[in-house]
Symmetry: C2
């Protein structure tokens, strides 16, 4: 595999033109869209308009005239189209962690007599933490059952209220079989709650076809919504009437501006709103989601798999005897839009790469993650990133002492 | 009182120049800064920089290099200076509603055996709703005790875990005596939780001098942080070690990037963070708070009282026999930075005013609210607003049928 071949892949890439929609800085190969998606160029003008025209000139009137008040449901309906949900099943609100809390609390209420939330040890930590916090708040009636991935199906039984899983593993990128696990859970009357943070914009998700009950996901990774973009949550239509949010704020009230003394949940998914949404961050997410809606999802997935396959092929061909190991599935079908490599000095190697303009990230203790964003990652980027990695490993450039110092965000 | 006199007040106003820091549209008299503060001009450039340089060019590196990760604590420390708190006692996160949930849940845990949250019937509805949602989640061990304002002190006893009040009433603008009520609560071992949403940027608040335990507040009203700006919360230093957040997400973990399986709360106020913060909205708030920190707070309060006094004086002088009634305290010392008027057709009158460029808002059933933002409201604005109101009332312009249709946000 040579660079020229990669360039020819790019020339044949039906999504190649999408890269122009993003502001990728010169001299940077950005392989961390799984952590913070790149900036869609249109976001700059749109947010300037939101600030100067809608906030500045429209002032309070923009809640109506610029349809700010509808943004959580409007964006939810748009994201629904990306994850196999129907309009009215998704709403944008708060952070992924806060949304998880709402759905776990609401879900446990629907499962009286069932004491366990089942999850896997490798789940994204904040998901475990949120479940722990809720269980602590509920004072002893519930517990987290944490098992290894391979034990999940066997650990399902009539005592499990909710099976809580992240669809694509943040570390390895391995994809769970959502349909099989959801179906297994249903047989035991267990609700499923899927975290789609590394899925939406990366791999196909069809929540309704898989008969998923509940889901959450984040807006700032592959969706490109911007730093700390609001998150979303999904509740299957059939469950919405029964689901209550413990965070019963006024935006989820049936009549927020009636100022009634008692909480009365809004119909449907809207009751999952709590306080006023951060409009600037939310409308930046909308630009990015709108961009996604112009893309053929199958095409995006095909490219994401091809980029990952190319990455692994180049690792195999060029990084032999350099002490790196592929820590992601080699089979594209069960791999998200990332490849992780294991190296004993992963942190320092990643710092050296970033210093050279190849941006991935590190996950403790020894993983380098490289994410592929079909909308803006090129085949030649993969080639150049691996060349850079080879150079860093061969020259042992990672040994420079400044790469040992830990940054706050790593 | 004539217009020329009002103009002379503006010429003598030591804060007059601050208006230039805001983008107030031509033809608008904006008296709704108590609902959504106006746009600081600097916000436009700052957010453009955040988007193009920090997100676009800096990408994931900006969590460190642009200090995004420190924003919640940094902004908290700045807001602390506006509300009489110390550095490390305030953090910016989530929405006011979500922060209230955290502090109520954390506070109840500190008060075993005490079953009541005491509040007043006129509290802002979302505060009541959030308390109701938490109580429902905790399944019957707690209850909300709702009394009239005058009964609050008498309703305090050893069964009250938390006294939850909004400092400045959203309807009437009446200010509670924070020091007296807090002191009364302390005598019964009751924690106090103050909602400062209509206080910060409007009236002096000295949380430490009043020995307040807990507080929350919103960023998008008098602070001018932008639509749905993140909110803040305060926990007195002495309580921080004992307070847990039920929303125990990774941003509140002692080592968020260690990816440990179990939640371990960060030291101090940082443990009140849950998920990733919406950076665009948060950094817009920072511009606005920085602007506030350049202002003499006493001067701002003096002006806010003078604007309210002028408003009431003009109502008395020019709106006699026009069926409006002042629904706010006439004594400036106990009045927030707003005056509310009662009128049987308040909704329609307000719609007619807004149509004529005088923007206040309506609160059910019969209140017109007019907020005064010391940083950009002029004395002449008050004069012109009252003239417009007089015109609308005398001509009965509010009778036009289109003013009867209810907008989503009213």
């Amino acid at each position: 595999m040579d660079r020229e071949t990669c360039l020819s892949f790019d020339r044949q890439d039906p999504l190649a033109a999408m890269r122009e929609a993003f502001a990728i800085p010169d001299g940077v190969i950005y392989l961390d869209g799984n952590s913070l998606g790149a900036l869609p160029r249109q976001t700059v003008q749109r947010i300037d308009q939101v600030i100067t025209e809608e906030w500045g000139a429209g002032l309070i009137r923009s809640w109506n005239n610029a349809h700010w008040i509808d943004a959580p449901a409007r964006l939810g309906d748009k994201i629904a189209r990306l994850i196999g949900a129907r309009a009215g099943e998704v709403i944008v609100a708060d952070s992924t962690s806060v949304n998880l809390f709402k759905l776990l609390a609401g879900g446990l209420r629907l499962q009286p007599g069932r004491h366990f939330i089942l999850t896997e040890a490798a789940n994204f930590p904040t998901d475990l933490y949120i479940a722990q916090g809720l269980i602590e708040l509920l004072e002893g009636n519930h517990a987290l059952r944490v098992v290894e991935r391979a034990e999940l199906e066997r650990a399902l039984d009539g005592s499990v209220a909710i099976l809580m899983l992240t669809h694509v593993d943040y570390g390895s990128g391995e994809i769970h079989d959502m349909r099989r696990l959801t179906s297994a859970a249903r047989k035991h009357g267990t609700l499923t709650l899927w975290d789609l943070s590394h899925s939406a914009g990366a791999v196909p998700v069809d929540l309704n076809a898989s008969q998923v009950d509940l889901a959450i996901g984040c807006g700032y990774k592959y969706l490109n919504g911007g730093p700390g973009a609001p998150a979303y949550l999904f509740i299957a239509s059939a469950l919405q009437e029964a689901m209550r949010s413990p965070l019963s704020g006024w935006m989820g009230h049936a009549a927020p501006f009636a100022f009634e003394p008692d909480y009365r949940p809004a119909q449907g998914i809207a009751r999952q709103l709590a306080g006023s949404p951060p409009i600037l961050s939310m409308l930046a997410l909308e630009v990015a989601v709108d961009l996604w809606l112009t893309v053929n999802q199958q095409e995006a997935r095909r490219k994401s798999m091809a980029l990952g396959d190319l990455f692994i092929k180049l690792v195999d061909e060029t990084l032999r005897d350099l002490a790196v190991e592929v820590a992601s599935p080699r089979e594209a079908q069960i791999r998200g839009s990332q490849v992780s490599l294991r190296h004993k000095q992963a942190y320092r190697v990643m710092r050296a790469l970033i210093d050279r303009g190849v941006i991935g990230d590190f996950r403790t203790p020894d993983l380098m993650r490289f994410g592929f964003a079909s909308l803006y990652t090129r085949y030649v980027d993969i080639f150049d990133a691996i060349s850079c990695l080879r150079e860093v490993l061969i020259t042992r450039a990672w040994q420079r002492p400044e790469y040992a110092t830990r940054l706050t965000v790593t």
